[in-house]
């Protein structure tokens, strides 16, 4: 059968919440980063789907997706750089080891 908009939206929403869940629960910084990627991908799906099914005459969603992918890459690059630096000083990439700043 042909997947309709709602299937895709369902999928993307599921992805979104999986991402959020991962972000909230995982202790490993890299994994948290990955779950953010999940969120972004769910958004990409959204855009594509909306563009394909609802507003096929313009390409806004498509372009947006492309940009999101690009930005996500940049973000990931900076994030990983920071995480590496964190690892240098903390000798771990566990989020629970980086809680000095509080109150």
């Amino acid at each position: 059968m042909q997947p309709g908009l709602y299937h895709i939206l369902f999928l993307s929403t599921a992805l979104f919440f999986i991402g959020v869940y991962g972000f909230l629960t995982r202790r490993n910084l890299i994994t948290m980063l990955m779950s953010i990627e999940l969120i972004l991908n769910s958004v990409n799906l959204n855009f594509i789907a909306f563009n394909k099914y609802l507003w096929p005459n313009q390409m806004d969603g498509l372009f947006f997706t492309l940009f999101i992918i690009a930005i996500a890459a940049a973000e990931a690059a900076v994030a990983i750089a920071i995480i590496i630096n964190l690892y240098r000083s903390h000798n771990s990439i566990d989020v629970e080891n980086a809680e000095d700043l509080k109150y």
Binding site: L29, M32, I39, V43, D60, G61, E75, L101
Partner: protein, 466 residues
């Protein structure tokens, strides 16, 4: 084509500086002091450039727009950056990666420029990220400090998270309206549940960037962790930029939902002011203290925003202008002291007046301005924000706002008291101010005093925001 250069002059100027720095970096580097003064000069030029050939227009279809007001806002930002480059000179000279620092900071600035004049959600998103990611990198600039990298980590992760939320909201809006252009969206809005949801997502992303309670929690940690130059950049420049675009989007794009976001702003403003103040009371570290105080200030900005008329825009822009001077002055003093003595706690400021009267007076001016006590400009800024908030004549709201001024006064006075009154057998030794720092502080002080008393400035902004 010619128009293109005129409309985008500030962006182009910043880009030019970035590339210049890049070439310098690639080529054989100059030693930092001269490079720094060069950059300061260029930034001054960039700031000056804002005052000529101002005209409004659109570029790239509806992607990019500029109006005199927007140019003015950009000027405020570039002025702020210039002041930072002056105030943090001592620290900047020391960092081994001076060009990179400026490249990052300026690209963030570029992002903010684009963000302010964006006319479309796509470019808005791009600009937002451009304004965020480099700052995260900057936050980590004390490469060997644990706290610095922790702060940076917190920032990049949570901002990535928030942009995820933002994007989800945008995607929903796109799904509903089928357009990304600010001009077209309002026509499509009818306040349906889904739209509200999308709006809430969008708003929470803004709230995160503006560090509105309860989306503010990253703020203090990042501020404390990162070097003061970055902290001041975060707390003044990016806050200002976000405030500008936020108010534009609220007033333009979500204008049909005015009723909804008014209520939201009221709620958020109240809890932001209260929580921010309550946290600020207890802080010891000056950077953290200023972080929370700036959260409370954002609460006041929201009060002004809630007005929903050009009075609100004027008040917000005016306040941000004053806020740039006041907060940067405070940060500047803190930067000098941290740089010279490595001390960051309020208790270390005890007896400062004995040794550094000039710094103390600037600090006092800045803090009183933040607290909104005349004759400093902060008084006028706060007053007009509250006036704008009062246009809807909900007395409880503005009463709460006014009462919050008492609490804020209380903790600002704590610092003043430490500096002026408390005894201290070994206070911070007398500090020799480098000329650029002195210049920066004097500019800030002058701004704090004059912006309020020269009332035509307010009227000028008002005329722009009509």
């Amino acid at each position: 084509m010619n128009e293109f250069f005129i409309l985008m002059k500030q962006e182009l100027a910043v880009t030019a500086i970035i590339f210049l720095l890049l070439f310098i970096k690639i080529g054989k580097g100059i030693q930092h002091s001269s490079l720094l003064s060069l950059v300061q000069f260029l930034l001054l030029i960039n700031f000056g450039a804002g005052f000529f050939f101002n005209q409004s227009g659109w570029l790239f279809g509806d992607m990019y727009q500029t109006t005199p007001l927007i140019v003015f806002q950009k000027n405020i930002l570039s002025l702020g950056v210039y002041l930072i480059s002056l105030l943090c000179a001592d620290w900047l000279k020391k960092t081994e990666h001076l060009p990179e620092f400026f490249m990052l900071m300026l690209s963030a600035l570029l992002g903010m420029f684009l963000m302010i004049s964006s006319g479309n959600l796509l470019i808005f998103y791009l600009a937002l990220e451009l304004a965020t990611i480099p700052v995260a990198a900057m936050a980590n600039f004390d490469l060997h400090k644990k706290r610095s990298s922790e702060g940076a980590m917190k920032m990049i992760l949570s901002s990535a998270f928030s942009s995820g939320i933002l994007l989800f909201g945008i995607s929903l809006i796109y799904g509903i309206t089928g357009t990304l252009s600010f001009a077209l969206i309002p026509g499509q809005l009818d306040g349906s549940t889904l739209q509200l949801l999308a709006f809430v997502f969008l708003l929470s992303a803004f709230a995160f960037k503006l560090s509105i309670v309860p989306f503010h929690l990253w703020t203090a940690d990042v501020y404390e962790g990162s070097p003061i130059a970055v902290t001041s950049f975060l707390s003044v420049i990016s806050k200002g930029a976000i405030a500008f675009i936020f108010i534009t989007i609220l007033y333009k794009v979500f204008q049909p939902m005015g009723e909804v976001w008014y209520n939201m702003l009221v709620i958020l403003a109240v809890i932001t002011m209260v929580i921010g103040n309550l946290f600020a009371i207890r802080q010891q570290n000056i950077k953290r203290f200023l972080a929370f105080s700036s959260i409370a200030q954002v609460g006041f900005i929201l009060v002004g925003m809630s007005s929903g008329s050009e009075v609100g825009i004027t008040a917000v822009v005016y306040f941000v202008l004053i806020y740039v001077f006041s907060n940067l002055a405070a940060f500047g003093v803190a930067a000098v002291i941290t740089e010279q003595s490595g001390k960051e706690n309020i208790d270390d400021y005890k007896g400062l007046y004995k040794t550094n009267p000039f710094l103390c007076w600037i600090l006092a001016l800045a803090l009183f301005s933040l607290a909104g006590i005349p004759p400093t400009a902060g008084f006028f800024g706060k007053l007009f924000l509250i006036t704008a908030g009062a246009t809807k004549a909900s007395f409880i709201f503005i009463t709460i706002a006014a009462l919050n001024m008492i609490v804020s006064l209380y903790y600002y006075l704590r610092v003043i008291r430490a500096a002026f009154m408390d005894k201290n057998e070994n206070p911070i030794s007398a500090i020799k101010l480098s000329p650029s720092v002195k210049l920066g502080l004097i500019i800030c002080g002058a701004g704090i005093v004059l912006v309020g008393l020269l009332s035509w400035m307010y009227d000028y902004i008002h005329s722009l925001s009509l």
